[in-house]
Symmetry: C2
Subunit: 478 residues, 2 copies
């Protein structure tokens, strides 16, 4: 570590002491993300300008210092935590947002907040669909690094689907630009998309050009109640067959609904307490919505136990409040939660419902599920009492069983959170040795010294053996 502190002094002389902070408070604040596992860095760097980032990387390569990039730190997987110490680069100050009103594009810097981008676009009639639930806090740099999703994924896609061009630094400090602000591009290997979702391990993104779509002129919200989870999933498959793509199709199973009802004292669907629900939102031109609404109402009559359309925007807001409350309300079922954002393809929805029912029986745990049925991204919440070693072991075993099952069902171990530390034990369920080798070969080729965000993704980190910080973050689900 002596070598590291020498390098830090060197860096401090280069960039100035204000840019290289080493106070205990600064180090602690940069030591963890939403996974709440703390790893203290040697220094936190607030670059004066983008060129400073290149300087940091050059020195880091020279002195073998790990470098981890940080936005707001909302990652749930530990991907922003400096696992091996070293230097953390904080990009929050680079937060410029510029909307190209004619072309429908946003030119943004990595530290720009996702909600700010959405608001800036909306003000001039454009729309940026990806909306992770932490959007009021998280940055677009983090969204690009983790290929973030949100509720709009089924109809519109995820971060990857909206990134046109990226700028930033290769691990060796080289400045590069991938892609142009054009929809078509066929000029060389696609390192733009290799960067997206690489969790800060293959480069540092400083700038992005995002594609926008016209702001939907109208929205229409429908809440539906179903007798069982299986009935709800079957109904969604029928909706797909009807070619109707709701902008949002949020599902809450009976356990999530019961949590929300216990927490609020209100019935989610009046007259149908404790039933699974789906919350649908159509978005588009008034003409489109008029046409789709008719199809949807007929489908609802044929498939739901009961349903109710929002009459006003406020009415819709009340329906959405349920969805937002259920995640926090789950802590009534156990003080600890393993929240897994798995994905299953539509054809496996039925099998998945049966699997989760079996898992509840075999683990004896509460496992409320909710998620985005438009894209098969289901949040499985395994609740347990942290102080009870038996429950903890049962929860860990349930996660492993879940991960193996979703891969077998043709799905993925993560739809939007990424791997980081938290899912590293399961990467090899998703990927064969050949696939992991190919990914690691790319990593070695672009970052031969392993400077950028080391210890993540490929190295198995037994996350359950580590004690999490007991700290409340502004974006924690209440």
């Amino acid at each position: 570590m002596a070598a590291r502190s020498t390098a830090t002094s060197l860096l401090s002389r280069r960039l100035g002491a204000a840019a290289v902070r080493t106070s205990a408070a600064a180090l602690f604040d940069a030591s963890f993300d939403s996974l709440k596992l703390s790893f203290l860095p040697e220094a936190v760097i607030f670059p004066r300008n983008k060129a400073d980032i290149g300087v940091v990387l050059l020195l880091a390569n020279e002195h073998n210092i790990p470098v981890t990039v940080r936005g707001r730190g909302t990652s749930l997987t530990g991907s922003a935590a400096p696992r091996r110490g070293g230097w953390v680069i904080d990009l929050l100050q680079f937060d410029r947002i510029k909307i190209d009103v004619t072309a429908g594009m946003a030119e943004v810097e990595a530290g720009a907040k996702v909600a700010d981008i959405q608001n800036a676009a909306e003000k001039v009639g454009w729309f940026y669909p990806p909306d992770p639930s932490s959007k009021e806090y998280c940055t677009i740099g983090g969204n690009v690094a983790c290929n973030s999703g949100g509720m709009h994924g089924g109809k519109y896609g995820v971060t990857r689907d909206f990134v046109m061009a990226l700028k930033g630094f290769m691990p060796n400090g080289d400045w590069v630009e991938w892609g142009t602000p054009t929809r078509k591009y066929a000029a060389g290997f696609n390192l733009r998309d290799l960067w997206i979702g690489s969790e800060g391990m293959l480069g540092i993104v400083t700038d992005a050009v995002l594609r926008l779509i016209p702001q939907p002129a109208a929205r229409w919200t429908l809440l539906l109640s179903f007798s069982t989870e299986a009935a709800a999933f079957r109904a969604v498959a029928k909706l797909f067959r009807l070619r109707v793509r709701p902008a949002i199709c949020e599902f809450l199973d009976r356990y999530s609904v019961q949590c929300a009802e216990a927490a609020t004292g209100e019935t989610v669907f009046p007259g149908q307490p404790g039933r699974p629900v789906i919350l649908l939102e159509l978005a588009g031109s008034p003409a489109e919505i008029r046409a789709e609404r008719l199809i949807l109402l007929k489908w609802a009559r044929e498939n739901a136990l009961a349903f109710r359309a929002a009459k006003t925007r406020e009415d819709a807001e009340r329906l959405w409040a349920v969805r937002r409350k259920c995640s926090g309300a789950m802590f009534e079922l156990g003080d600890s939660k393993l929240n897994e954002d798995i994905v299953v393809p539509l054809r496996s929805y039925g099998k998945f419902v049966r699997f989760i029912d079996g898992l509840r029986r075999s683990s004896q745990l509460s496992i409320p599920c909710f998620g985005h049925l438009g894209d098969g991204n289901i949040h499985v919440n395994i609740m347990y009492r942290g102080a009870d070693p038996e429950q903890r072991r049962a929860a860990e075993a349930a996660v492993e069983e879940l991960m193996a099952a979703v891969v077998k069902l043709g799905g993925a171990i993560s739809g939007e959170h990424g791997i980081g530390l938290a899912k590293s034990p399961f990467l090899r369920l998703q990927h064969s040795p050949a696939q992991v080798n190919a990914m690691m070969a790319v990593k070695s080729a672009l970052d031969p010294k392993g400077i950028l965000n080391p210890g993540k993704m490929f190295e198995v980190f037994p996350v359950w053996e580590h004690k999490r910080l007991s700290i409340a973050l502004p974006w924690d689900h209440k």
Copy 2:
């Protein structure tokens, strides 16, 4: 070459003589693509099954044999030509197409014809938008390799935007699967998208899962005439501002129109001979089209010299016939053509028009342009007499000037054709040394022996110094 023929004998013994063809006719047929530069291979391999491809790659690595993969050979850049000889793997026989009607996906093999995929989808109410002009011939494997586009790019995107999952072989012969048939996926580095557009240099795709969208129920076609190219480009920018995204927005400059008129003896836009035109198509639900049509007609009245809507599908077909004829008709202006599919961002449309006008004056050549204004992908056709060395030199100089200009305008040297051999001299206009180094590092990491499609993209190939085959291909523009 003795070593190569030994290896070929070995391969023949492994796969059987029927799978490893070495007749002069077989070798010639596999020696070129639509660039029409011939490089004879040692053997053409028709794998009996997919596992054979792994065997070929293992042997190729062992004996240092170049391997080039081939679909229909419609590539315009030479990306499917076996530049360094060796083995060509023909994937045409793997042409299975399976539509998942519920989920809206197509599971296809690499050799499946793009038009067949579109037709299979359309039959059950789904739509696969990418439509390169060779779609009646080209394969989805080639489309993935080159990230092909087409006329629908502006509204719907290109091949990349529709690929959910890929299967195939790494250069070392390892079988891999990238992505799952789900819209969300955040589990490991994104080698799926690294494969897309890598022109057969980073792996061999054997299977793809494609996302489909609902078949638009209605279409509406409008032909517009403009006084000048600049007026047409300005009008399109205004249309973008109105948030109307036509499914197709094809532009023909006055020179392209004049070619078509000379060839057919008919006026493209009655009463407005020799004027630039735009051909627009709206696609969507009848309700959407009704709403967009009103906006479009108002815009047309304010911006076009004249316009005319197709009254019937046959009427629309007549309008489209013009667009299809212009490319072949250009050979009236010169027996040789350098067809460059550059891309310019919307904000540079005006500057681009002025640049091309200047290039016509300085080169003294005919340079008809047409293309997809929805995504800035313009086909610049530099016409010259091949036997006239002065004209040839002028054409070559014009291409170089064009490529430098589009990069300066923030665009790309290729929107949908790719680099291959034809654009290799310009790759370094698009990409800095750091960017080229990063791409080459990825290539070396995944294909250390440089087996797959060597001599392409990064190596400068002076395409104009080589004599092209004088041969007519079924997909040549008539």
